[in-house]
């Protein structure tokens, strides 16, 4: 276990062997672990570990809207509440939700809404609660990815899943899936998400300093990484249904 006392960044983000500090290649994702259906009170839920990110997502809905005046007569509403635990980051976060959390909540809402059929649920709401237990770079992408799984777990009709990843530039090189240190010490960061039903981009943010060619490269790299993540999401959903199937067969033993 390494513990930094100051939140310091290394001078170089590549090792002498050309690998990234955590041993990854340029296009390599951090280890990702996905589980669905892990919280039994929610209508749908999922848990994710992505590098050191640890994130829970739960979905409640369709249900009544509180406060009432937010309800829309012609469609359901999607509300996303992204929150970070106080101990999820190096400096203790204040307990009350801050502006950054509200902003990310809005961005994830905008990102997930295109895959839902909200017009089928007038007057109701879907609420997605995302709680980050540990944050390590790319939490908005990881949160989007796990929230999409929780929606699927809730059995809510969806046009497709949504997958999300960040691409960035560190020490002059374009890499996939920035870690916390790479995010803070790097030059640029482009989180994006894809809605698979139309293969279009539904989340896109960028901060950095990039010419047009570099941005094109970013987007191409992102698409490859998003495909990998999509496979993992599908596997997580499958393995849940396999588990359920096994349980069910278990109930009907030896027929």
């Amino acid at each position: 276990m390494t513990l930094l006392i100051k939140d310091e960044y290394p001078e170089k983000l590549f090792r002498e062997d050309g690998k990234r500090l955590d041993g990854r290649d340029l296009k390599e994702l951090r280890p990702i672990k996905l589980e669905v259906g892990i919280l039994n009170n929610a209508d749908g839920s999922a848990y994710l570990e992505w590098g050191n990110n640890k994130i829970f997502a739960a979905v409640y809905g369709p249900r009544e809207v509180h406060p009432h005046h937010l309800a829309k007569p012609d469609k359901g509403i999607l509300r996303v509440f992204y929150r970070m635990a106080t101990f999820s980051v190096f400096e203790r976060k204040r307990p009350a939700p801050g502006r950054r959390e509200k902003e990310i909540s809005m961005i994830i809402t905008d990102c997930l809404e295109p895959v839902l059929f909200l017009e089928l649920y007038p007057g109701t709401s879907f609420e997605v609660f995302i709680d980050v237990i540990e944050a390590d770079g790319g939490t908005r992408c990881a949160s989007t990815t796990v929230a999409a799984l929780a929606l699927a777990d809730a059995g809510i009709p969806m046009k497709s899943l949504v997958s999300s990843v960040a691409v960035g530039k560190i020490d002059g090189k374009i890499v996939v899936d920035l870690s916390g240190i790479e995010d803070k010490a790097g030059e640029a960061d482009l989180p994006c998400a894809i809605t698979w039903f139309n293969e279009e981009i539904s989340l896109l943010q960028f901060d950095g300093d990039m010419d047009l060619n570099e941005l094109d490269t970013f987007l191409k790299l992102a698409k490859d990484a998003l495909k990998e993540i999509y496979e993992m999401q599908l596997n997580a959903l499958k393995s849940k249904y396999i588990t359920i199937q096994e349980k069910y067969n278990g109930g009907q033993v030896k027929q």
């Binding site: 919280l39 839920s45 409640y60 509440f81 635990a85 106080t86 101990f87 307990p95 390590d136």
Partner: protein, 275 residues
Amino acid sequence: MMSIRRVISKIERNYIINNLKNEERIDGRGLWDYREWKIKHNLVASAEGSADVCLGDTRVITGLKYEVGEPFPDIPDEGVCTVMAELLPLASPLFERGPPDEQSIELARVVDRGIRHADCIQTKKLCIKENEAVYILFVDIYVINYSGNLIDAGGISALTTLISSHIPEGKWVDDHVEWTGGYITGETIVKELPIVLTFGKIGDIIFIDPSLPEELICDGKISISVTKDKVTSIQKSGAATFSIDDIQMLNKKAMELGNLLRDNLNLWQYKVNIE
């Protein structure tokens, strides 16, 4: 999943009560049995101590952060430890978003008092330099899934977090803190292991560790914190009343079951060794 959205029906209520009258619980436990405990420690690298505790389907994740600050003038050589609790809306349709409500305040307070009055945290070990610099510990409890009896789960969770803690060691040099590179760990910070045990009361029947349906229909609860041979904190809540005899019985029961649980959980296994 048991639906906790609707009010528990009369039939269900009667079913629970009739079972209790026969000293049985709807999940098959006896009156004085806890549900199963599962504990993971030190799972959050960004925290200086953490725990993931399940008590049946109730799940609580707790983490510890620290700051260095000035001591209170009346205790110039003691650090401070505060407990916060948040009932995440993710954990139950019964929880609402917004600032801490009464239930989360109660959870934090009861856990805090259980720790505070039991010679549990060695606050003098949290002093870097008298009058100048002490550690301020934040033990923050997040409820991830709510299925009854948050207090006992929160108590074990806070204790495991403290035991697993590892705080950079500072020393006072001239007029500021310098880091030695070593760590102060739970082994140094924690002395006593107080256990908080919560009893529910429905009608005349009292039992330990209320599950969610029991908690939703119970008239009241009493939480008792115990060390090996002392009661260190009591808190009654809800509209039930308890006879003095009941209270005496429960104090004894808490001591007995607390010692049993302390042995069974063996929380010291969760301490962290840093060379």
